[in-house]
């Protein structure tokens, strides 16, 4: 046991060092104190030094104790939890991985890490300097910019709804950021600008390109997901960067926000060389205020970090329809994050009740049912906090071997796509097609379109047709663009008839930009962000409306208000539109030509235009002039 501890302590020093990256020593001491309090197992009060090494020792000891506690827990006594007194700060960390085998043979892995920060955020003026599990970098951002809710996602790839079904948390290609500010903020735009710049630094992303020209304030599509019912959309800002490319540099800072970093727990699987060898990669951070308990007596900040990845069967090679954790991530699981209160792996086996579709090994007796996205799903659960999960080899390598063909997937009830129609560089038409695949229920959807100003929308050409009949939206919120200042914002509430295809079209004209406004690669085209379709889709089964702690994380993100329907957001693909582009490789020729024309043409024309022409009369001989002089005096007509 001692040797084991020694090894673990080494690991823990590493963890500590990663912790030290984003939380100061000061806060760590507090953290230590808290843990001690929490786990006060008849230990003498320990003096905590500000010295890092001693703190590390401390941690080692604590680690030892927590291992003990874990052992206890494995025994099923759950002493540590029973012994934990109701402390003032009950920060909590949960981690979870859901694996869903897809019908196409691909595999979908969704990570969720949830950190609860028990602090009273509503009290203004209270300086928060107390950080345990919650990353300080984000905590400071929240307090400085009076953020009520923050959602940011980085996605590389497009979620293929028709093959993969609905994702747990949808996100558009590129970067998406939407923030609700507190209603005490006076200068929302200023806060927003600063916030995007700060976040740009934190996530190593080009979020600083978010400015007023691509920010909108949706009136209905983006409601707060956390506590409090703010409805004044003046405090909401929404922006997407469809061109943002997500890579390792964005993943690393994202991983650093985790309490265990990528050193222990599920996060060890997050190796970029595998995550970016996939069909779809999306990582997100969601921060919102939530209830601490069922009665909602106290409130807490919730930080959810999600990472969704879809691995492709074909490019993974070897031709075998077989997936394992090692094949997906080139790592296996050996332990839970020691700071996590729960650490679980779920495998979706709904379509495989008898094991006829695929074979899952190691087998687990633990099953869990959850209602997610309007469907009751069954999951095999692997609890990483239990030793028997890891078996003899002390490592968990889930193996999924397909037996037969995946078969046909149920068509998702809501699906949307978008494209640009027409050709040429003058006009075009944006088509948004929304499918309601429900056999007999109609339901309304909110369509939100944010189009950059350089596509000048002809809003009078807006048509909405379902089943080749005009479909009048019951609510339209349109904010026209201002050139170089503000994008178009179009929000519509459309009723989708059952089993129908609804087409929304609007024509646009392509603006000719000023020559400095073109990107360095103007011939690539300009991006138009995804349109957002938000809907309450009729559910096949009764949704779970009561809020409980035991729910798996993936099914508890969006609060459910009623049993009969569930909330879905669908993003369409972004558009790439070519604008009329001058030939930038020709400025020299153009300058030469124009200068010549100006020099030759202008000079001569100016000369011609300003000169007065007179008929040159031959001058009269001297005698006649004299005669004329005399005649003028006499008043007789002059000689010519």
């Amino acid at each position: 046991m001692a040797a084991h501890r020694c090894g673990l302590s080494l690991v823990f020093i590493l963890i500590f060092s990663s912790l030290a990256c984003h939380s100061s020593c000061d806060s760590l001491e507090n953290a230590n104190e808290d843990t001690e309090e929490k786990q006060s197992v008849s230990d003498t009060p320990r003096e905590v030094n500000s010295d890092g090494s001693i703190a590390a020792e401390d941690l080692n000891e604590r680690r030892g104790r927590s291992t003990d506690a874990e052992l206890d827990r494995r025994d099923g006594t759950r002493t540590s939890e029973a012994l934990t007194p109701a402390a003032a700060a009950r920060d909590e960390f949960q981690e979870e991985l859901v694996i869903r085998p897809l019908h196409s043979g691909d595999i979908y892995a969704s990570f969720q890490f949830r950190t609860l920060w028990d602090t009273d955020f509503l009290q203004e003026g209270q300086k928060v300097s107390h950080y345990r599990l919650f990353p300080k970098s984000l905590g400071q951002v929240l307090s400085k910019f009076s953020v009520r809710e923050l959602h940011i996602s980085f996605t590389q790839g497009f979620w293929r709804t028709m093959q993969w079904g609905q994702p747990f948390i949808p996100s558009p290609p590129g970067a998406e950021l939407w923030v609700w500010f507190h209603d005490t903020v006076s200068d929302v735009d200023g806060n927003w600008k600063e916030l995007t710049n700060v976040l740009s630094g934190i996530f190593c992303a080009s979020l600083n390109f978010i400015d007023l020209t691509n920010t909108v304030q949706p009136s209905a599509s983006f409601k707060p997901l956390g506590l409090g019912n703010a409805t004044d959309h003046r405090f909401l800002r929404y922006a997407t960067l469809p061109r943002e490319i997500v890579c390792t540099e964005n993943l690393t800072p994202w991983k650093k926000l985790l309490p265990c970093g990528s050193k222990a727990g599920l996060a060890v699987l997050l190796k970029s060389e595998k995550l970016f060898h996939s069909s779809f990669h999306s990582q997100a951070v969601h921060i919102r205020p939530v209830c601490q308990d069922e009665q909602c007596t106290s409130k807490a900040w919730e930080l959810r970090q999600t990472l969704n990845v879809v691995f492709d069967l074909y490019t993974a090679g070897q031709g075998k329809k077989e997936w394992s954790l090692f094949k997906m991530f080139s790592r296996t699981l050996t332990e839970a994050c020691p700071l996590a209160t729960s650490s679980k792996v779920y495998v979706d086996i709904t379509d495989n009740p008898e094991g006829e579709l695929f074979e899952l090994s190691p087998a687990t007796p633990l099953l869990s049912q959850a209602v997610v996205l309007g469907d009751r799903r069954t999951y095999s659960v692997f609890d990483l906090t239990r030793a028997e999960t890891f078996g003899q080899l002390r490592s968990l390598n889930l193996l999924l071997r397909w037996k037969g063909d995946g078969g046909e997937m149920l068509r998702p009830l809501l699906h949307a796509e978008r494209y640009v129609a027409g050709f040429g560089l003058q006009t075009g038409e944006i088509h948004t097609v929304i499918y309601n695949n429900h056999p007999y229920r109609a339901f309304p959807v909110l369509l939100m379109d944010s189009v950059p100003w350089y596509l000048q929308l002809y809003i009078h050409t807006l048509t909405v047709t379902s089943k080749s009949r005009d479909n009048k939206p019951s609510y339209i919120h349109y904010q026209p663009a201002k050139d170089r200042h503000r994008p178009h914002l179009l929000e519509m509430l459309i009723q989708l008839p059952p089993h129908s295809m609804t087409e929304v079209t609007v024509q646009f004209e392509r603006a000719l930009l000023k020559w400095t406004e073109y990107t360095p690669d103007p011939n690539h085209g300009f991006y138009v962000g995804s349109s957002v379709v938000s809907a309450l889709v009729p559910s096949m089964v009764a949704m779970n409306t009561n809020f409980t702690q035991d729910q798996p994380l993936f099914s508890s993100f969006v609060p459910v208000k009623e049993e009969s329907s569930y909330f879905v957001r669908v993003y369409t693909e972004p558009l790439l539109v070519n604008l009329p582009t001058p030939d930038f490789s020709m400025p020299y020729n153009v300058i030469c030509l124009t200068c010549t024309v100006v020099a030759v043409g202008y000079g001569s024309f100016y000369n011609l235009l300003t000169r007065t022409f007179q008929v040159d009369e031959p001058s009269l001989p001297l005698a006649k002039r004299l005669a004329n002089l005399i005649r003028r005096i006499r008043g007789v007509p002059l000689l010519t």
Partner: protein, 621 residues
């Protein structure tokens, strides 16, 4: 400008121009022709080079190896095609699905304005099958297209099979940044047209098609593949598209670079490259290649499936496998590798192909003539028209005033009846043009009822009849104008004015045509300029009428047919040539109706009426 503002010097200049007008015109004409022929001479041309940075230095490695599998697939495809008696849609859908593509189909139908006798079709009904390879971690904004037409009979099976083999291989790769669309289209160009219109949700030619279900953003480039044998001796690159549009030269460079790399013989216009430019044979060879390109471009039709993509600003080319009886053979694996390399390089593109030339002529694959080099040849021809017009203008201004001063009533405002009289022949010739454009297709039923001909023959013969009938019109206009104006000098003045108008009109027409389609403009200029520049009413009528007819647009087409047949080394007899000429006319009308080719309306509505105006002048009395 000082030259123009100074009346005495201006007088000298105009005097010089009017006095030396004819010699200058002759010199210009000869210089234009010589310049054009010189374009094929290698020292005068530029070597092609890759302009696009993304495709240049980063040589990709080709690993495609399933050429043999493609050939066995071709046999399978052939069997299914025979069984289905057309395109085996279900089999193709399954084959693409099993290779991991998202597969969609599109059905289309089109009733031709009159039966196409070359391809024996009238009511066309078909299905396009296409599969989309979704690039990993790409947001569906950009796509590349590889297309292979599913032709009737035995042809093109290998192309479809190679397409499927490539799809299978590409699907297993991770490096794609753009979605790749594999399209198998039925009824060659009609299928492509239906697919493109469906993809872009436009309808410009009255095609009926079912809307597309799957899309992949804006298409950056397209390659069309035509292969009909297991091994080939050379690959031919076809660039000429609809209305004489050409893809960016970088696409040709890309093809050439990979042919060089993989050691594949490559041709353009079916002609291999020669290295002996300093010999007469070498020059003739290059000149023949260039002339073929000019003729193909001038006719304004799409010479492969790629041609229709160009309208949508999609750079596209056709690669055609040729199996002649050479010893040097290339197998399917190498062709697959060549395509893999090209597609990978196109996949590397950061922007649309735009760096290189869009206007060029190719005397060989490694040499090109850019717009800056060939435009002077046309300019020299066009300047003749302007010089003649200037000459007429000067004459119209100076000596015409002298008699009109002595004249009393009519000459007070010589310009007002003048404009009217000029208007009459202009309007009449244009109405003839409109008749030539509209009547052949619309009168076919009536013609079939009254004459023992097929619909196609009816259309072509009606066109020729109207064309000939137009020649009889000048007598009408002459009588018409006679009543208005009696005096000889006014008449003379009128014809000068008409000729001036016609010359300027022709200059503008040819200039605009040459800007869009140089070859067409140049060919028309070569035949039309000499006769239009020299025509007056005071010439031997019969002789000049014959010359004018021989140099009319219709005869230009006839000559082009013969020259083309000569150049592709398949000379035809006069009667065969005549049959070809008839089919060219029907194809031209069909191309206009089916794909929106503009050569037929240009000739019928503008060039022919313009020529009629000169015909009027000859018979001006």
């Amino acid at each position: 400008m000082g030259l123009l503002s100074d009346p005495s010097r201006r007088k000298v200049l105009t005097g010089l121009l009017t006095r030396l007008n004819t010699p200058i015109c002759i010199v210009c004409y000869l210089a234009g022709i010589v310049w054009f022929m010189g374009l094929a001479f290698e020292p005068f041309t530029l070597r092609t080079y890759m302009s696009e940075n993304a495709m240049g230095s980063t040589m990709v490695e080709e690993r495609f190896s399933s050429g043999e599998r493609a050939l066995s697939l071709a046999k399978e495809f052939d069997a299914h095609k025979r069984k289905a008696g057309g395109m085996p849609v279900e089999w193709l859908v399954k084959a693409m699905q099993s290779r991991g593509l998202e597969v969609f189909t599109q059905s289309f139908s089109r009733k031709l304005p009159f039966p196409d006798e070359n391809k024996e079709r009238y009511m066309v009904r078909g299905t396009n099958v296409y599969g989309i390879l979704r690039a990993p971690r790409a947001p569906r904004t950009e796509a590349l297209v590889i297309t292979a037409p599913c032709s009737p009979g035995n042809t093109n099976n290998q192309a479809v099979a190679l397409l499927l083999a490539l799809a299978q291989y590409f699907r297993n790769q991770i490096y794609w940044a753009k979605d790749i669309i594999f399209l198998v289209n039925e009824h060659d160009l009609i299928g492509t047209q239906a697919w493109l219109e469906g993809y872009h949700h436009t309808n410009i030619t009255g095609m009926e098609y079912s809307p597309l279900q799957g899309r992949a953003g804006s298409i950056q480039a397209a390659l069309s593949l035509e292969l009909s044998s297991d091994v080939i001796t050379s690959l031919d690159l076809v660039l000429e598209g609809l209305n004489g549009q050409l893809p960016n030269l970088d696409l040709a460079n890309l093809f050439y670079a990979f042919c060089q790399k993989l050691g594949v013989l490559c041709t353009i216009q079916g002609k291999l490259q020669r290295n002996d430019w300093d010999t007469a044979e070498g020059y003739t060879h290059a000149a023949q290649t260039m002339m073929l390109m000019v003729l193909k471009q001038a006719c304004g039709r799409s010479w492969g499936d790629h041609g229709l993509f160009l309208r949508y600003h999609i750079e596209a080319a056709s690669v055609r496998g040729i199996n002649s009886f050479r010893h040097y053979k290339t197998d399917a694996t190498t062709i697959g590798r060549l395509l893999e390399g090209m597609v990978r390089k196109l996949n590397n593109l950061l922007e649309r192909l735009h760096q290189s030339y869009f206007f060029y002529l190719l005397p060989s694959l490694s040499r090109f003539v850019s717009i800056g080099y060939y435009m002077p040849a046309f300019g020299l021809l066009a300047v003749i028209l302007l010089l003649r017009a200037l000459d007429l203008w000067v004459h119209l201004g100076a000596p015409a005033l002298a008699p009109s001063c002595h004249c009393f009533s009519v000459s007070l405002q010589p310009s007002s009846p003048g404009v009217l009289t000029v208007l009459t022949p202009v309007v009449i010739s244009h109405l003839t043009g409109v008749a030539l454009y509209l009547l052949p297709v619309h009168l076919q039923e009536m013609a079939v009822e009254h004459f023992p001909v097929s619909e196609t023959e009816a259309v072509v013969l009606t066109a020729i009849a109207i064309y000939t009938a137009g020649l009889a019109l000048p007598h009408n206009t002459q009588r018409y104008t006679h009543r208005l104006i009696l005096m000889q000098f006014i008449l003379r003045y009128m014809f000068t004015l008409l000729k001036l108008t016609a010359l300027l009109y022709l200059a503008v027409l040819l200039g605009c045509t040459a800007l869009i389609n140089f070859s067409l403009g140049f060919i028309l200029a070569v035949t039309l300029v000499p006769i239009t520049a020299s025509i007056t009413p005071h010439m031997p009528k019969a002789l000049y009428a014959l010359v004018m007819v021989l140099l009319s647009p219709a005869f230009t087409i006839l000559y082009c047919v013969f020259i083309y047949q000569e150049l592709i080394e398949a000379p035809v007899s006069v009667s065969e040539g005549w049959m070809l000429f008839l089919s060219v006319i029907s194809q031209g009308i069909l191309d206009h109706a089916l794909y929106g080719s503009l050569v037929y309306p240009l000739l019928a509505l503008f060039i022919y009426p313009c020529w009629l105006m000169f015909w009027n002048i000859l018979f001006w009395n």
